[in-house]
Assembly symmetry: C2
Homo-oligomer: 497 residues x 2
Amino acid sequence: MAKDKKKKPQRPKAVNPRGFRDYFGAKVTARGQMLRTITDIYHQYGFDPLESPAVETVEALGKFLPDVDRPNEGVFAWQDEDESWMALRYDMTAPLARVYAQHRNDLPTPYRRYAVGPVWRNEKPGPGRYRQFYQCDADTVGTPTVAADAEMCAMLSDVLEAVGIERGGYIVRVNNRKVLNGVMEVAGLGGPDQESARGIVLRAIDKLDRLGEDGVRALLGEGRKDASGDFTNGAGLGAEQAEIVMGFVSALRDDNAATTARLSELVAGSAIGMSGVQELETIAEAVAAQGYGTDRVLVDPSVVRGLGYYTGPVYEAELTHEILDEKGRVRQFGSVAGGGRYDDLVKRFIGQEVPATGVSLGVDRLLAALVAQDRIATDTTGPVVVTVMDKGRVADYQAMVGELRTAGIRAELYLGNPKDMGRQLKYADQRNAPVAVIQGSDEAERGAIQLKDLALGAGLAANITTNEEWKAQPAQMEVARTDLVAEVRAMIARREG
Amino acid sequence: MAKDKKKKPQRPKAVNPRGFRDYFGAKVTARGQMLRTITDIYHQYGFDPLESPAVETVEALGKFLPDVDRPNEGVFAWQDEDESWMALRYDMTAPLARVYAQHRNDLPTPYRRYAVGPVWRNEKPGPGRYRQFYQCDADTVGTPTVAADAEMCAMLSDVLEAVGIERGGYIVRVNNRKVLNGVMEVAGLGGPDQESARGIVLRAIDKLDRLGEDGVRALLGEGRKDASGDFTNGAGLGAEQAEIVMGFVSALRDDNAATTARLSELVAGSAIGMSGVQELETIAEAVAAQGYGTDRVLVDPSVVRGLGYYTGPVYEAELTHEILDEKGRVRQFGSVAGGGRYDDLVKRFIGQEVPATGVSLGVDRLLAALVAQDRIATDTTGPVVVTVMDKGRVADYQAMVGELRTAGIRAELYLGNPKDMGRQLKYADQRNAPVAVIQGSDEAERGAIQLKDLALGAGLAANITTNEEWKAQPAQMEVARTDLVAEVRAMIARREG
């Protein structure tokens, strides 16, 4: 017993687990508002919401490591009582494949669904890298037609304009994995024994942005020594082969027709390549028929991200406004959404290929861009705060709060220790309250209240230099108790007007 | 190699983990709409949103088992790379306590926050019992005044009316743990060595609903044998002691003042008991001053749920409409929200008592009640479906879809295999589409389209008995291509009108 008593209970630390964070107030509201605007567009396009649980079997996620009976380290996983492994979803696509396989007899085909929510990655957290973040996806499952892909591109354009990005401030670029496959064939890299070379080519062109054409050329050939002296082995392509690959990533021309014509030249003789070019032509025609010009949706073979994952059309939405990167260099804001066609995800479950295409939005990146461009409010007006001058009259104050709320005005009673008014007004300021209501026994006797315009007060404090100016300002005024609602409303209107 | 090839890869099962489920379409929309209505009221009352991550340290959740270095089985938990335990939150209150302790220097005090989202329980799933479900909480942290509790009761009332429950169809009941403590004192159960007896009393009165007064009386005394012959030990109270406890749970009178007067008699002589009665009086006055009668907020000592957990006022919102239970007996729908005052949750972290009070809504139960009462739409109108008669003219069809969307009409192109029109119309029906648009080459030549009123068609099919009646109905009509938007809009309006 004595031993037990000595053991001082240690207090738990009030911290998030590494890589997790809390969101407060206006940040929650702003994200919710943005997501509602986005899903309204998804809905307008005929997509229906799906909410699958955060938890999936590791088996369904396809995250078992080969040859070992435990999940990939990239997911947060644990064992259920019956020893089966469960994990938090790491994206919205794997759950969609499971849902479609499970419910396909009850779902319409094609199945259009959107999904919004957090996903979890068991990765090393770092600056700006969190282990829980939002995704906002739309996918069409069960159709091979590239009309579905064209629609995704148009929808991305509509979504970006709906949330407030101006036309010209973004571009949706489209490419096609099949064209790259055709390029590989033409370059003599199509054989089954050349998978590793194709992998190196994919990784090389994926670095186009960072290394430029010369860097990629080196990686396509013998290899490349970087600034630190490290050497990366190349794909070992000859000059002519490398030229074909480089021709692909630099095939962008003045208009979509010229670009696809150039791609046709490059993949002439490859059936898969020509099929890819035709798909791009179809997409270009479809979006043009709906009035989306190349200032909005552009066939651009330099889009290489996702080419290793998707099986057909690949699309990416970029914001084109310039920002300074961490080294102070001017660059474009870059990608906020991407997607493409994947034909094999549902096959894992049912053994049958189910063609599908979809888009995923980088919610946090897009929100950051909107905040930086002042397209979304990040401070919300706080409630009107009714202060407590006289502890015995709390019911009266609460009645004032009730009147304000009934009139649709956000309001609250100060619920902290009412011992001094300064503390109450400081609280009201901290809440970003537009107005504080004050009623001492004097005012109560003559049926009056004091209204303090907190926004005006704060603004004036910055500009006023003399006491006379201060006194002349209407930052605080006495009004009749019966006019509470009307006067508070007028004061808020003056602030917002 | 030969061995490897023989090993047929097993397909993953397309199933949810036990106790988890998917939500589709209108069910997702309806819940989102209900939650928005609720959080709008929370916001109106001055509460700010907080979104904490799904994952907390097990330490912060307070879910380590005593004397063993692993978490309580009730939470889903796993170890991070550094061996520390993480878990999914099982409610919204434990994360709030962590957040307040962590950020208290930057947060206003009192801190009013609301939180909406899923929580996870590692419990045995059963019929209607899931391991992930929604909570929608509002709490005020950092104030001891029962004005905060009164506000919770008023807010619950407002919330229920806002989502569509009629006045009279619900009641918010209030009780107070301190009054029960006073009752225990008066009954001679207040001593430190009588904790176990107090526990039995708490559990006994918690069964009032199920066992009735006689059953509870038995449990307060020697014990009770149930129908199966099992015997439950009682608290061993004498008749007089039991009478005092029973007096508490049956103290409900005609109005709040009469009830608190009766409670005063019961706890006379107990300081803690009288303090609890005064709190109930203050709450009753505060809600009355704001116009909430006892038809909405009622002091009711028979509310015993939560009395073991909370430290002061306890409140519960019940829907009073009658339903049939699983055995076909008529009973009230019952509780959809509950809450109360808890003064010790933050203390775990900072060693200092931080008084707080809050309410938690049973989202799924409330939604079920609203659906049963037809207060919320559970079928949504599908998109207008533009069908594909002629595969070569997909771009034309897509342009029609574009026009409809631009006009604000939810619309989509049929993206499945267009080989027969029957399949397309079946799809449109399955999507609950109001209108199908059809244009073959004949119609295209004369600048026309066919509109099929699918709702009317479905409705007519049920009522029509002769072919003549069928032909006379305008379930399908030809209109000019240029009138697409106007005619579709008119057809939808006729449906909804």
